[in-house]
């Protein structure tokens, strides 16, 4: 009798523990929103005008959107497990934006082929990345880093330092809004909804998470590991290409440095958003919280009149401390 009681006891404490863990996991991404909210109000303290609150939110939504779209792509890559990171996102963005805008050459009738070109560039970059990883067996970090130099060179070569303007329609669309919400934010929300469904409800999402947790076991359980990795790397590059396209239209032309900040940003929003850098365990909602947080931090530091140096320093420190605090101790073997 006693033994049974013990067992039940043990079981109860165990499931309490499990529940605790689950709610902790949930808290992780809620925390990103909390941080974003706090930063928002702290920033408002120094923005005196009445319109400040709305304008700040609008700007935050706009700029967070770009980080969210590349963040969703990066999240899938990170989910693939330790060592999987796409460092070619900035170069892919630049290349896609440059080539697409150059092709459209401010002609509004070529919008659709322009978008297709951006997507096609992303696809090609992703394929190239993955072929380096698969065929040459280069670790993803180095493979994407070295290919990013090639992409960057291609962009420089095709751009030749000119700033090609986007077609009027696209410029208006990307800077405009609908019902008080920026258009880019609407696109980003759509991307994240699709991303969420793929991750949580599609077979592909299960496979990605399985590969990230234990690639060998996934392969032995019938998961087509290479197809999954190919899909993830090309998907990420396509999202990067799309972001580059929209960002180029938004900022009035493709610019060779336009992707630079998204290298860190894409990784930061994934990690701060509560996804595990060790792979296998990711979430989409956190990316939004983290992206808003990252933008608001910068604008907070700006509004306090801090220079570029302090801003960079604090951004770095905040990222490191958030990662250090949010880390789940106990890395899987």
């Amino acid at each position: 009798m006693k033994m049974i009681e013990n067992k039940i006891d043990a079981h109860a404490t165990h499931s309490a523990l499990v529940r605790g863990l689950v709610s902790f996991a949930k808290k992780q991404w809620i925390w990103a929103y909390f941080a974003a909210g706090a930063t928002y109000f702290v920033t408002l303290l120094v923005v005196p005008t009445g319109g400040g609150a709305g304008a700040l939110l609008y700007a935050a939504l706009t700029f967070a959107s770009f980080a969210v779209i590349v963040g969703v792509g990066q999240m899938f890559v990170v989910t693939l497990g330790p060592g999987n990171v796409d460092l070619s996102i900035p170069a892919t963005m630049t290349l896609a934006g440059t080539l697409a805008l150059k092709f459209m050459d401010t002609d509004s009738s070529l919008v659709v082929p322009g978008i297709l070109i951006a997507i096609g560039v992303g696809l090609a970059c992703g394929l190239f990345n993955f072929s380096l990883i698969l065929v040459l067996r280069i670790p993803p970090i180095i493979a994407t880093l070295s290919s990013s130099f090639l992409f960057q060179s291609l962009a420089i070569w095709s751009n030749r330092g000119l700033r090609i303007k986007p077609p009027e329609v696209l410029a208006n669309f990307s800077t405009g809004g609908f019902g008080g919400v920026p258009n880019v934010a609407i696109i980003a929300v759509l991307v994240s909804i699709v991303g969420w469904f793929v991750l949580e409800r599609a077979i592909a999402g299960r496979w990605i998470s399985a590969v990230g947790q234990n690639q060998r076991a996934a392969r032995l359980a019938g998961v087509p590991v290479n197809a999954v990795r190919l899909g993830v790397y090309t998907g990420c590059a396509v999202l990067a290409g799309l972001t580059g396209f929209i960002l180029a239209c938004f900022s009035g032309g493709a610019n060779l440095n336009m992707g630079t900040e998204y290298m860190l940003m894409s990784i930061a929003v994934v990690v701060i958003g509560g996804s595990s850098i060790a792979g296998g365990n990711s979430n989409v909602p956190g990316i939004w919280g983290a992206a808003l947080f990252m933008f608001l931090i910068v604008s907070m530091l700006n509004s306090y009149g801090l220079g570029a140096g302090v801003r960079l320093m604090l951004t770095g420190l905040i990222i490191v401390s958030v990662v250090a605090l949010a880390s789940r101790t106990g890395r899987r073997p």
Partner: protein, 308 residues
Amino acid sequence: MNREHLRALLPFMSLAILLAAVFYMQPRAMSYFGLNLLFNLAIPVALATVAQMMILMINDIDLSIGTFVSFCACVTATFVQSDPVIGYAILAGAILVYAGMGAIIHVRKLPAIVVTLGMSFFWAGMAILILPSPGGSAPDWLRTMMTAKTPFLPVAIIAPIIIGLSMHYFVKRSALGVLLRGVGGNEQAIERSGWSVLRLKAVAYGIAGLLCVLSGMALVGLATSADANIALRYTLLSIAGVILGGGEFTGGRVSPIGAVVGALTLTLAASFLSFLHLSSDWQIGAQGAILILVLAARLIFTRREATI
């Protein structure tokens, strides 16, 4: 002569081939001054590369080396030159921060790639704070040292040889080096024998920090001034140099001499590309391509292992 030997020779062969190509295109480079010019920037690159090697040796990766070396260069061109005491204190503090970074990465089991990427912003910010616009000047002694006229071979050749040999002695010969490589090879075995992996990792990061400081100082000595972006390329160069020199990303398999040779090869590749009159558009791309080619060449000499 088996594949392993060939593989160990690969970095030397790449350097020799590249050197031959340069001499062929520019016979005048085959002189004391020519060599000095060709390998002019090899010293700081070699130091940054062995720094990266210290980190790769314990299965981590450092993406902040570029900005950190820039920061060190900025400190050297300002404080070390004007107020040496404060300058050296800052550099010593920075080394401690590096060691602390290693400790935190181990204790909190953080991914080194994210932490170092975050820290790269920190160092970039610090560098801008110290030196908002390009400028500063090299301390005289440093300038003298870096431009010394040594007999027979120029400093640009002698210094990398010294760096390679002393790092080889430290990493491959000393007891501490054995333990550090052991951390990369089988962390558990080290822990079981009662060593503190935490301390070892902090030491590895600390030494990497020290090497980066030296790299920044050497860079200022050569360039005579600094700016906040002076060494951004070093992040990639250092990783590439280690890999080129026969190091591995995991498993504590590194070769200090190989890493230095790798750094020399990359320095030479940059000179070579400029001899080719390659349009500057393609300079970056060519570096990426060289890196990919080298990694592909390595594949030929790697024992085929199961991918899963």
